[in-house]
């Protein structure tokens, strides 16, 4: 309590008022280190809400620059940011909301060679990337480094998310063994996505992060939450950790990280 200034007590007063969070929970948030992978549709709301919530150290990773076609849903980027690197654009908004934070930016592509070094030291990872090789890479690296993470995916009018506690709950590979064949699954850039879907799923991921840090409630551990916004149908499917999972099972066949052919590591 003594660590907070009056301004901080006021800034976080709506958290502190929550019986389940309180000063203690807010201290946990301020001391937490979270890495957001992808500063796009999902990363945007996650970055804004975690910054506002006072998560003390926030890393944000994206190799891309802001394009005009991003602005329909990537609400952390503004028209003036076109051609600016996404991590620089996101950092500016995060610090504008909350100057108390430390924001670390990584303007690079995630690959087998750098992922473990980048994620090490973070308490929680939010994965909001746009391709399967990276989703599987993040899963595998988080299992190896024993770092909990939130998976997120969106397409058209639908979204899905789950929270993985390595070694304790089912991982992304328990559900989806390997990436689908390249081009078998349409991405948002091919099939489109309703802008607000990114906000719906991103804020669920941000909530899961805040729940994990403060220990409030029951995260979507090993539970895949999917929704279809056309009829607002939400569905949860729980899966036990699979003994034959190639990364978190009893005798893992994946013991080192490799890059899938289609994801080239470009720094």
């Amino acid at each position: 309590m003594t660590d907070f200034t009056n301004e901080q007590l006021e800034r976080y007063s709506r958290h502190i008022l929550l019986q389940d969070v309180g000063v203690e929970g807010q201290i946990k948030l301020c001391e937490a280190k979270v890495l957001i992978i992808g500063a796009g549709g999902l990363g945007a709301p996650v970055a804004l809400y975690l910054a506002a919530a006072g998560v003390g150290t926030l890393g944000i990773l994206d190799h891309d620059r802001v394009e005009i076609s991003n602005l329909q849903r990537q609400v952390v980027h503004f028209t003036k940011d076109i051609n600016v690197s996404k991590v620089t654009s996101a950092k500016e908004k995060m610090l504008a909301i909350n100057p108390d934070l430390t924001v670390r930016t990584y303007q690079e592509m995630l690959c087998a060679d750098n992922v473990r070094d980048i994620i090490r030291g973070y308490d929680f990872i939010v994965e909001g990337t746009d391709n399967f090789p990276t989703k599987f890479l993040v899963n595998d690296a988080c299992i190896m480094e024993n770092i909990p993470f939130s998976h997120g995916g969106i397409l058209r009018f639908t979204g899905q998310t789950m929270t993985v506690l390595p070694g304790r709950t089912a991982c992304y590979r328990c559900f989806f063994r390997q990436p689908p064949p390249p081009d078998a699954v349409p991405t948002c850039s091919q099939a489109g996505v309703l802008g607000a879907i990114a906000g719906m799923l991103g804020t669920i991921q941000a909530t899961e992060t805040l729940k994990f840090i403060t220990g409030v409630g029951e995260p979507l551990n090993g539970t895949l939450l999917s929704f279809d916004a056309k009829n607002m149908h939400f569905r949860k499917v729980k899966l036990q950790k699979q003994g034959n999972c190639p990364i978190c099972g009893e005798s893992p066949t994946i013991t080192e990280l490799t890059d899938a052919e289609q994801s080239v590591c470009v720094l």
Binding site: G40, K135, I154, V185, V193, S226
Partner: protein
């Protein structure tokens, strides 16, 4: 027989129902795009043609969703 598909109870008249056949009946365009959960266990893709679905089984089709940063 009666099975539960994605939480909804459905009556299927066919016997000898494999995962492959159920994917056809449910008009799932490409099995590459789904992960199938049968009674809370993930079914290995290699066994889609051989594993039989029985009365009162629970099946979930889980779809890949790749978007996020795009």
């Amino acid at each position: 027989m009666q099975i539960k598909i994605n939480g909804e109870i459905e009556k299927i008249t066919e016997t000898n129902l494999t995962i492959t056949r159920l994917l056809e009946i449910k008009k799932v365009e490409s099995p590459d795009l789904v992960s199938v959960l049968l009674n809370d266990e993930i079914v290995d893709r290699a066994h889609y043609e051989t594993i039989r679905i029985s009365d009162n089984d629970t099946v979930e089709f889980l779809y890949f969703m790749g978007g996020g940063a795009c």
